[in-house]
Symmetry: C2
Subunit: 213 residues, 2 copies
DNA sequence: TCGACTATTGAACAGGTGATCAACAGGTGC
DNA sequence: GCACCTGTTGATCACCTGTTCAATAGTCGA
């Protein structure tokens, strides 16, 4: 009932099925305990097989870590981006997006990201995947932002660098949350973050909850 | 001429001197290769002594890592804060500060920070030190920012949350730099970052324009 | 039913980690 | 010059890591 959550799998599975089982187990493990917890033996225990079998399906652990990273963050990105609500304007959607990314419930993915930057220093395969995923985030955000700027009167604001700043800010806050260093009101911070990035006066939203001063 | 940069130390040293030698070696090693490289044997090799001697002076490695972290980032903070130039106004000083923090030359300290967040998940002693250092940064920045806001017309901007955002943004960019994901012009980004945090129109040069909505 | 194919295992390897401790040896005081 | 004190070492422990490979055993087709 702890780490060995999955019962020992049936003795012999078709390769595709076993492979999926191992990859899924690794993804679940990384979500729970971070990318650093992805050891051959830990994955094997999680899935209920021998370390040698994990090594059989994923011979190079470094590459496996990179693969798991991509699977996790790509899924998250798809999910977050897909939660776009056409009924709302772009600015409201952006705010929702930031709130989602800063949500405590996403601390598992935050841990994966932070560890990916640290591990990327010595795992170049991982670093390349990290850059690719960040490019995708940057592109997606830039698109949303330039749309939001067009809605409001955001002339003179560079959407690309806004996206860059937004990513940096969200990622920085994620990193901080790993050591539990966070401000009291994350929602207020999300609004302030958006305002800062879109370079508008702090209180645009007519403040249903005044941010304070 | 490589990692064993220091010649083997004289056979027997007074404890304070030996201790300092070991701590200094560990700090140098962490700067070069990150906190994760701080192993008993690596530090010993760096200083030119036996692993057992390192363990003798620092019996618990986890605590030693936390200590080295504090030494490195506290020194950096002191240095950066001390480079305040009274001849310039506060905003200019803030800009210089951001530029300094984003400078490539500080990638070593950036690596220490990012690894500290990742390691802090499992090293609570380290996490506590990290929070303490971040508090000090936050306080120092908040002071500078509130001063800058008083100089210019920064009414309505909350200095505390500005400091928070600035830290997040700088830290996020540091994390990104570890996997070499960075924009071309860091100086321009520093200006844009400052403008965003102080909540002023994006292009202070071009559009001193009215902040609309 | 039996053979072939192959998924899976157990065991071992070489290398890494932090930590411990009896024994050695340099320096100082007598 | 000798003895004590203690800084320092070498060896060893238990445990971790990824990787390899011969041997086992499940399953399917003939």
């Amino acid at each position: 009932m702890n780490t060995t959550s999955r019962a020992a799998a049936p003795r012999r599975l078709p390769p595709e099925q076993r492979e999926r089982s191992i990859v899924d187990g690794a993804i679940a493990l990384a979500r729970e305990s971070g990318l650093e917890a992805l050891t051959l033996r830990a994955v094997a225990a999680k899935v209920g097989v021998t370390p040698a079998l994990v090594a059989h399906y994923r011979p190079v652990m470094e590459a496996f870590v990179a693969e798991v990273f991509t699977a996790i963050v790509a899924a998250e990105r798809d999910e977050v981006i897909a939660s776009y609500d056409p009924a709302l304007d772009l600015r409201a959607n952006l705010l929702r997006l930031i709130e989602t990314l800063l949500d405590d419930a996403r601390d598992d993915v935050a841990m994966v990201w932070v560890q990916s930057w640290a591990l990327g220093v010595r795992n170049e395969a991982l670093a390349a995947r990290v850059r690719a995923e960040m490019d995708l985030w940057q592109t997606a955000l830039e698109e949303l932002i330039s749309g939001a700027l067009a809605e409001t009167s955001g002339a003179g604001v560079d959407a690309a660098s806004s996206a860059w700043m937004l990513l940096a800010m969200v990622d920085g806050m994620s990193a901080h949350s790993l050591v539990r260093w966070a401000p009291r009101d994350r929602a207020a911070l999300a609004r302030r973050t958006l305002a800062a990035v879109l370079d508008v006066s702090a209180e645009t939203t007519a403040a249903p909850a005044g941010i304070d001063r």
